[in-house]
């Protein structure tokens, strides 16, 4: 048993933290206010190799591990939830499925530019009538000669407006029992019939691009099918298991930032002639926050470690996501409380932490769905 990060992991933490503090942090308030996706920051994230952390060098990646990836998400999440979400979605949802399930050619053609940071990816699962119940997918892909013709609509897709490829899930047929077979297909976003619009006015993660995709007779070659045609559903469940680790890491980042801000403020703010940190009511809040952040991070690291070891991690990644994102929300809420009226103001940033944290309890499986996943693991 060893709770220490290794040298590379420490170096990655320092590098990403320096980059996040120096480059992203000064922009965070503006990114939120203007709800503009910071393209130039993503170019730099790409150049630093961060979009390829967990992928092997042969596909343009850095050949590092899931723990390092979680560390990177946390460090970015500490300063900007929007950037953190787009970063996590690009790696976990846009690129990872191609790495897990793609053919050699698909990895060369589609994964390499994503891992090298030259392009962003997206993953289109959610539809207006299929959110938590992804099995309810209505989008269809029908074989026509050597091609698929895809029709349907996807909503709330992170990064889609800036992505070169979107992996979309679609019904490709029925199995023996008459149930829909759902497959995943790589769709280049410049294909005819693909319309991507991002008009959502969001509560939080406002600088992260979220888009609607309409697929109208979109023709892509049959080779763009990702992985096993029969196992699309299982595949995206696996993809989401991995993605949950990164959303959990983002939660740890926001929770840690909330604690840091609250601690700093509590030591400086004087009321009744004393620093408010001398009041036990404030101390107890800080103690709870610190404890929960640490527990959440440990769970994230454990889930990441299990994944790196090739061991099952479905239950643990659900624990991590559920606990870390609810911790993020609680911590951000307490950080506002400790800041009093100032915390309610945008300038102090903690109110943004709360708005950003809320998304984490919804995206990549709501908190209720995490509990379902855990219960299923217990009962099966």
């Amino acid at each position: 048993m060893n709770f220490e990060l290794d040298k590379e992991q420490l170096m990655i933490k320092k590098m990403v933290s320096d980059f996040a503090q120096n480059v992203i942090r000064p922009r965070a308030v503006d990114i939120d206010r203007t709800a503009q996706f910071p393209v130039d920051i993503f170019e730099q994230i790409g150049e630093l190799g961060l979009l390829g952390i967990p992928f092997p060098e042969e596909y343009g990646g850095a050949g590092s591990d899931t723990i390092s990836y979680a560390i990177a998400v946390e460090e970015i999440g500490k300063v900007c939830g929007s950037t953190g979400l787009s970063y996590a979605a690009a790696v976990s949802l846009g690129a990872s499925p191609i790495y897990y399930f793609g053919t050699e050619e698909q990895k060369k053609q589609y994964l390499t530019p994503l891992a090298e940071g030259k392009a962003l990816g997206a993953f289109g699962l959610t539809e207006p009538n299929a959110g938590s119940d992804a099995g309810g997918t209505k989008t269809t892909a029908v074989v026509d000669g050597d091609d698929f013709i895809i029709n349907g609509e996807k909503c709330y897709i992170t990064n889609a407006s800036f992505a070169e490829t979107v992996i979309v899930t679609a019904v490709t047929g029925k199995d023996d029992r008459g149930k829909n077979i759902i497959s995943a297909i790589i769709v280049p976003t410049d294909t005819d019939g693909v319309t991507i619009t991002s008009n959502y006015d969001k509560m939080g993660v406002r600088g992260s691009d979220t888009a609607e995709i309409v697929l109208d007779h979109v023709r892509v070659p049959k080779e763009n099918l990702l992985g096993d045609p029969e196992k699309g559903f299982k595949q995206f469940l696996h993809t989401l298991d991995g993605g949950r680790i990164s959303i959990a890491a983002l939660g740890v980042g926001i929770a840690q930032a909330s604690l840091d801000r609250a601690l700093e403020y509590a030591k400086e703010r004087k009321q009744f002639g004393k620093a408010i940190s001398s009041f036990q009511a404030i101390q107890f809040k800080l103690a709870d926050m610190a404890m929960e952040v640490e527990l959440a991070r440990n769970m994230v690291y454990k889930a990441a470690w299990l994944k790196d070891q090739g061991k099952p991690f479905t239950k643990e990644s659900a624990y991590a996501k559920l606990f870390a994102t609810e911790t993020a929300f609680r911590s951000a809420n307490q950080a506002i409380q400790i800041h009093g009226g100032y915390g309610y103001m945008r300038e102090y940033e903690v109110e943004r932490f709360l708005r950003d944290a809320k998304l984490l309890e919804i995206g990549e499986g709501t908190s209720e769905i995490q509990r379902l996943v855990i219960a299923r693991q217990l009962l099966d």
Binding site: K7, M11, M15, D18, F19, L48, G49, E57
Partner: protein, 257 residues
């Protein structure tokens, strides 16, 4: 071109520093590459990319200094040398450091050696110039720009905010000043590749030195923190009264007049 960088780790002076029993508490302190040495690493990498050759970073330190060397390798340096004095030396000063480096460079071919202007912990600024003197090569301190053309080196040197233009030739030792460049972040692939780059570990024994050869020439009598800054005092009243009170305070209380 054979390029060497002298680098050391320092505690982060932005972080809280605690002293107990006359020594700086190292437990829990954050260690970083001396910021001026980061300029040196960046410049070395740039010059290598332009003129070809190899960048070797050299540090005198302990086991933990490997972290800073690996960071320099991750930024793009090619090789690293750790001269580990942990088991051999109780204490050292700038003389010690220079003597060890002189021995290290005795059998090396070097065109350019870069060091930081000062280390932010002890801030002596001596190691670079003293080593150049021992190696009998040219030395320019506090540089803010450097162009190499063949053997000729054109340098901008910071002199208390003004610029002095210097022309010199290789082999050369320079010390790097803020403003020389913007040190890059080590990239992810850089960090992973650094794992496989050569990192040689030496002890003073390997340089045919023993403890007596490098015995410090100075003695540190005491280490203490600057006094806590006290709250400022507002002087009130009419301007004439204020001046009178201020002068009085400077004379009688601060005793600077």
């Amino acid at each position: 071109m054979n390029i060497y960088v002298l680098l050391k780790k320092t505690f982060d002076t932005e972080e809280k520093i605690t002293i107990s029993n006359g020594i700086i508490e190292e437990d829990g302190a954050e260690f970083i590459i001396n910021p001026y040495d980061e300029y040196a690493v960046e410049e070395a990498i740039k010059q290598r990319d332009e003129h070809g050759g190899d960048v070797t970073v050299v540090t005198i330190g302990d086991e933990d200094s490997e972290k800073q060397l690996r960071t320099a390798l991750a930024m793009g340096a090619d090789k690293a040398v750790l001269i580990n004095t942990e088991d051999d030396l109780e204490e050292g000063d700038q003389y010690t450091t220079t003597a060890i480096l002189e021995a290290f460079f005795a059998d090396k071919a070097y065109d350019l050696i870069l060091a930081g202007n000062v280390a932010i912990d002890e801030a002596s600024g001596q190691v670079g110039p003293r080593l150049a003197e021992r190696l009998d090569i040219a030395c320019v301190t506090t540089i803010t720009n450097m162009e190499i053309d063949g053997d000729i080196v054109k340098i901008d040197k910071d002199v208390e905010g003004d610029v002095e233009k210097v022309e010199t030739s290789l082999p050369l030792l320079v010390t790097c000043q803020q403003g020389l460049n913007d040190p890059r972040y080590p990239s992810l692939p850089g960090i992973m590749k650094a794992k496989k780059k050569p990192l040689e570990e030496l002890e003073i024994d390997d340089l045919d030195l023993d403890e007596d050869d490098v015995e410090p020439k100075t003695k540190t009598i005491e280490i203490f923190l600057p006094p806590e800054k006290e709250a400022g005092r507002m002087i009130e009243g009419e301007p004439a009264e204020q001046v009178k009170e201020l002068v009085g305070l400077l004379k009688n209380e601060a005793k600077v007049l």
